[in-house]
Amino acid sequence: MSTKTTSDAGASRGLAAWRQLPRSQQGMILAYVAVLLLFVIGGIYRPGFVRLDNIGQLLLLSSFTGLVAAGQTFVILIGGIDLSVPWVLNAMAVLLTTTSLGQDSRAWWVVPLCLIVGALIGLVNGVGIVFFDIPPVVMTLGMNGVMQGLVLGMTGGFTCPTCNSVAPPSVQGIFVGQFLFGLPNGLLVWIVIAIIVGVVLSLTTLGRRIYALGNNALAAYLAGVNVRAVTLTVYALGGLFAALAGIALTAFGQQATLGMGDPFLFDSIAAVVIGGASILGGRGNYWGTIAGAIFLVVLRAVLQEFNISEAGRSIASGIVILVALLLYGREAREV
């Protein structure tokens, strides 16, 4: 009897504490719980699903979405959106293979080159948005078209002589080689990136300014935040992370292909939203996004275990987002 009341009291205390959490943190926790649940379901259906090497592979696949979504997190936190990621990613992947020609001797300057060009493209997005008042949707949409046209035009529809070059073996090693317990190196890269992004967002002035800008641009401006500089930085980071994901994906698949970036538009935005961030900006963090990225990949893997077709997986991903939104993405009632 007494134990029951204490457990009841404990439950209600827990519930009260849960209610006091910000909506974005509730979302993040739910996303991690959902990931665990998926692994449990997959493991029950087929025990091999939760073997360490399978988990490692799934996490490696998640890392590509996670890297793109890192940039998307920055952009969405200030209340923007980056629709140019698919073809910025694709363009940088093509740049990597066609300029490195698969040679390690070129890798040391080609990889930084790709990252810098990616960041510059993102910066151009920022310039259009900051200095010409172009809505982010239009600017990044236009940029996506520009990059798509450039890739198709300059490679002649991927018929160029160097188009079939592979990523340099050293770059492949960075992402695909294995370290502890047979886990792929790409995971280590992702962990390092996650720590850097987490630190930047929560412990630096840039991070505080990003949240300030996302919550109320006018208040941030009046409080002395250089709104233009922060916006430019954030969109440059969006391009940088798209480029990094392009490099990682090319290293993983060895070659660049046309349209390789297309799934990442939906996935990067979905990962951020499932992770509890508000699409209006100001709320959310990268730890949530990581959960969102892993969730999307593991969900599809589980559905694949159940022999559900690509069409079914696509429908399921959409429904999951709607459910996540209804659980923790709702706005306060106005008026």
């Binding site: 809505p135 078209g145 935005i269 069409a311 709702r330």
Partner: protein
């Protein structure tokens, strides 16, 4: 429209007219700009066509250009209705995919089936739009993310309906929607559809429904406080928008004479591009469906111009994207020029 007082003397009436013209042009700078771009593109197109082909474009060119425009135009109208409220509909491509596949799979060559399936397809589009509207309005969710979710759902559904491109659209449907009308001197039927759409807009644009859409886009709280049926109108915008996407899916199937569950995807982006090129503000409350149609024509004509200018077709997306960005930049610069003429200062972030 206010009636001009008949008693006014001639000079007074002229100034009244001038005042109205000034007011109109000040209110419709983006629309006039987009019509100007369209006119310019038409001239360039005629010039390039004449130089390359040694004749002027005729009925055939008019027909193919407008047939290509109509799909984008229909989705752009649907997109515009949603954008008026300050929302955005990214599921347009998915709805087109579903309705396109559905039409190709279901339609048989008899009048009842053709009419019935056409209506069904538009209703399915409206239903898909209704779902968006309900989530956005009663779920209190952001349109961009709701419609991105429904986009993937509809893309999946379309693949279930029509896994491989195929199916068939009966020739009469293609003839009616995308052919030429013999009694009207071979006028392309897309011209008739275009005129009907413009007339429909003229009839609708002063109705309470459309005025409420603008009111929501300008200031939802004020609209609500003034007793405008905000929720109903917003749901109506998404539903009608979905119906137009459904019509676009039907039209696309009629032009292609078969179905494909993936061709619609690009229409999400082109419909937004058309709306923006048509001078409709993505922040809501500003613009006209005339602009959306003009924007759709601009996109098609741009491709024609690039073709006749001998530009590598693989660079199409490059020029479309560049043109979209440049058009918005120019419109921004012109607006700033006009504003600086009228008022001093004005704090900008």
């Amino acid at each position: 429209m206010s009636a001009t007082p008949a008693s006014g003397t001639r000079p007074a009436r002229r100034t009244h007219f001038e005042a109205r013209l000034n007011y109109y042009s000040a209110q419709n700078v983006p629309l006039l700009l987009s019509l100007g771009i369209l006119l310019g593109l038409i001239l360039i197109y005629f010039l390039l066509f004449a130089v390359r082909q040694h004749r002027l474009p005729g009925n055939f060119e008019l027909s193919t250009t407008l047939n290509n425009t109509m799909t984008v135009g229909l989705t752009a109208i649907g997109q515009a209705l949603v954008v008026f409220t300050g929302g955005i509909d990214l599921s347009v491509g998915g709805i087109v995919d579903v309705t396109n596949s559905l039409a190709a799979v279901l339609m048989r060559n008899n009048p009842g089936s053709m009419l019935g399936v056409s209506l069904l397809v538009i209703l399915v589009g409206a239903g898909a739009g209704l779902i968006n509207g309900l989530f956005v309005t009663y779920g209190r969710l952001q349109p961009i993310i709701v419609t991105i979710a429904t986009l993937t759902i509809w893309q999946g559904v379309a693949l279930l309906i029509l896994p491989q491109p195929g199916g068939a659209i009966p020739p009469p449907v293609t003839a009616i929607l995308a052919g030429n009308i013999a009694p009207l001197a071979g006028l392309p039927s897309s011209v008739v559809i275009l005129v009907l759409l413009l007339l429909l807009w003229q009839a609708l644009r002063r109705t309470g429904f459309v005025v409420t859409l603008y009111a929501i886009g300008n200031d939802e709280r004020a609209a609500h406080a003034n007793g405008a049926p905000v929720n109903l109108a917003r749901i109506g915008a998404y539903t009608l928008g979905g119906a137009f996407s459904g019509a676009a899916g039907l039209y696309l199937a009629a032009v292609a004479t078969s179905g494909d569950a993936t061709t619609g995807s690009q229409l999400t982006l082109t419909s937004i591009a058309a709306v923006v090129l048509g001078g409709i503000s993505l922040f809501g409350g500003r613009g006209s469906v005339v602009g959306a149609l003009a924007g759709a024509c601009i996109l098609t004509l741009l491709l024609n111009v690039l073709f006749f200018a001998g530009v590598n077709p693989q660079l199409q997306e490059f020029f479309q994207g560049l043109f979209l960005i440049l058009a918005v930049v120019i419109s921004t610069l012109i607006r700033r020029l006009l504003q600086s003429g009228r008022q001093v200062g004005g704090g900008s972030l």
